[in-house]
């Protein structure tokens, strides 16, 4: 597959429908024997348990891509073979994720896409490696996912290090351009490998660029009350607040900040659960205003990205990064299947390893995997402006102009 946005035109659909109806009415038997066998692809996400919202969104994105690819004629090099989704649920638990890989292997999956969370990915990629099963990793930012030498693992999105490096780089540009108003920083992060790893990197890197980290606060998941953390933010009065949490905690934290009228010069999230969420913007526009976030985001200049946004919203869902990341991952895999010309796992791994796929909806360069990590992947910095999420950095993908320092927000 060379073009990802190859949806059927209305004429094709009508022609196909008419042909189907004619065949049915004349009583022609379906020529099932001539149909190429469907290619089974495991779509593995945590659709139940604590991460079920992200898992459900991820599954939706993957399913959208599969439906589009099948509607556009399937995998051409395999005679139009359709992709058959084998839906699997990791139940938000790494051990269940690994067990699901065994089931997918038994069921004859040619490859797996998923599984959103880092802890689950560490287990599923290893389990898949035992069977030589190609595993396209969608999000799972912890860098150990791709540093264990697993030949079957290909992560499409950026890892923690790349994200933090980019976040710092963009932050310095934003701060420098405004005359360096921010000098002190406070970090509030969740306690898992994702938040803690990020805090460690920030503590090591930010002082090198002239920022003083006045305090780093770690909190549990779930945290029921952020009042004390906000008290400490009030006491420290940092110029810059860097939160890194999952959605539920992010909402409670942002609310508490707003209630206590805490007003730093900027709130600059890194992979912040709520800061790049249309849901957060819609439900708490005042608390969300001017918040910046370095995160996975779509390329706002691409028509396919906007078309997917429209389709997602028509389904009553929010266009979250899980949707467009998984959508792109399935297209990446479809491109590899097209070039592998078969469902043999070795051939698919080789095709993924040599991928130069660039027809995704992300602001990435062409795909190029080095040790399983897509070198083209990069996060962007967004800001909530006019009740919408705009890309502000890098400038090549920008859809809005940065507002910094943050103006006085309505109490």
């Amino acid at each position: 597959m060379t073009r990802m946005n190859k949806s059927l035109s209305r004429r094709h659909v009508l022609t196909g429908a008419a042909a189907g109806a004619a065949a049915g009415s004349f009583g022609f038997p379906a020529i099932l024997g001539a149909q190429p066998a469907a290619i089974k692809v495991g779509i593995l996400h945590p659709v139940t348990g604590a991460l079920s919202y992200s898992g459900t969104q991820s599954r939706f994105g993957a399913q959208m891509a599969i439906d589009e690819i099948n509607a556009a004629g399937g995998i051409k090099s395999m005679g139009g073979a359709k992709i058959e989704a084998l839906l699997a649920d990791a139940q938000s638990r790494p051990d269940v994720g690994a067990a699901e890989i065994e089931k997918l292997n038994e069921a004859g999956a040619a490859a797996v896409v998923g599984p959103y969370a880092s802890a689950i990915a560490l287990a599923t990629t290893q389990a898949a490696a035992r069977h030589g099963l190609p595993h396209v990793v969608d999000v799972a930012v912890v860098d150990q996912v791709v540093t264990r030498g697993l030949m079957n693992t290909f992560r499409f999105g950026p890892g923690v290090k790349k994200t933090v490096d980019t976040a710092i780089e963009n932050l310095i540009k934003i701060n420098d351009a405004a005359g360096k108003p921010a000098k002190t920083v406070m970090i509030v992060h969740e306690e898992s490998a994702f938040g803690s790893g990020m805090a460690t990197t920030l503590n090591a890197e930010l002082p090198k660029h002239g920022f003083e980290i006045v305090e780093t606060i770690k909190h549990a998941n779930p945290t029921r009350d952020f009042s004390n953390i906000v008290l400490r933010v009030q006491a420290r009065k940092p110029d810059l607040l860097i939160p890194s949490n999952y959605y539920n905690e992010y909402v409670l934290f942002a609310r508490a900040l707003r209630q206590q009228r805490v007003a730093p010069k900027a709130i600059y999230s890194i992979l912040g659960g709520g800061a790049s969420s249309y849901k957060f913007v819609k439900e708490f526009p005042d608390a969300a205003a001017f918040v910046m976030d370095c995160n996975h985001w779509f390329d706002p200049r691409k028509a396919a990205a906007l078309a997917l946004k429209e389709k997602t919203e028509k389904q009553g869902l929010f266009y979250t990064y899980e949707v467009f990341m998984n959508y792109s991952c399935v297209y990446l895999l479809a491109d590899a299947l097209e070039r592998a010309k078969g469902a043999q796992r070795d051939a698919i791994i080789a095709a993924l390893a040599s991928s130069t796929f660039d027809m995704h909806v992300m602001p990435y360069g062409p795909t190029r995997f080095v040790n399983g990590q897509n070198q083209g992947a990069q996060p962007v910095t967004t800001q909530i402006l006019d009740k919408d999420i705009k890309v502000i950095y890098p400038l090549a993908f920008a859809s809005g102009n940065v507002v910094y320092p943050m103006p006085e927000r309505r109490a």
Binding site: S52, S227, L231, L252, R255
Partner: protein, 290 residues
Amino acid sequence: MLDPLILLPAVINGLTMGAVYALVALGLTLIYGVLHIINFAHGSLLMVGLYGVFFLHRAGVDPYLALVIMVPALFVVGYALQWSVIGKASHGSDQNVLLVTLGVSIVIENLALYFFTADTLTVDTPYVFEMIDLGIALVPLPRVIAFLSALVLAALLWLLIARSDLGRAIRAVAKERQGARLVGIDVDHIFAMSFGIGTACLGAAACLLLPMFYVSPHVGHVFVLVAFTVVVLGGMGSFSGALFGGLLIGVTESVGGLLLGESLGQIGIFLIFIATLMFRPSGLFGARLS
């Protein structure tokens, strides 16, 4: 960090959060403490209440006004659940009750997941950012309301159990089931009434909680373990104990978080819990064990 400017507001935050724990625990202390039903479905029923308040808010009913709908509605749910499922399926065995309520909890959560998806939902009310200035701290209005409501609810439950015929019947069933039956008390009805009242408390807790929290199919887990701790700490079946236990745990968690770091704040809760079990196993307000 023991700066009084932070410590005092932290204690107030702990008290207001503790009131929320007490609200969730008040119903449990009736069901678990008085009737000895280990109700694993307590968290799931709280979640049902929160969804109820959410959809009423979407229909234009303020969460606090929703009290008049949610309290009776959850009472009916609790009564029906005990009467038609838990009571019948448990066959009088406490171990069965435990498994049945666990099963009910799994079914309710998965139904919520199916019908409402895993989406986290919140309500935005005009007073969500309203603050009450207590001089040493700014406290969000919904928390002040929850705190005062916890006091009122605990007093009402105490009055109900201590002064009403129904309360006397509940206590009689709790103390001597067979004897209560012999004097003409409909034990099955009293069990269902107690379960219904306990669940109705969750209806009230849901109305008071949603303006400051969120609802998702798994939200019950966030509170249920703390609620069990509060009940045992305060003394099984003691409403004043549940209230005091909730407040104590809230303050311990808050100050513990300040001293030990937010992610270790809960250590204090369980240290107090272990100490209570060791030195006063009947709980702070429970009757002394003979």
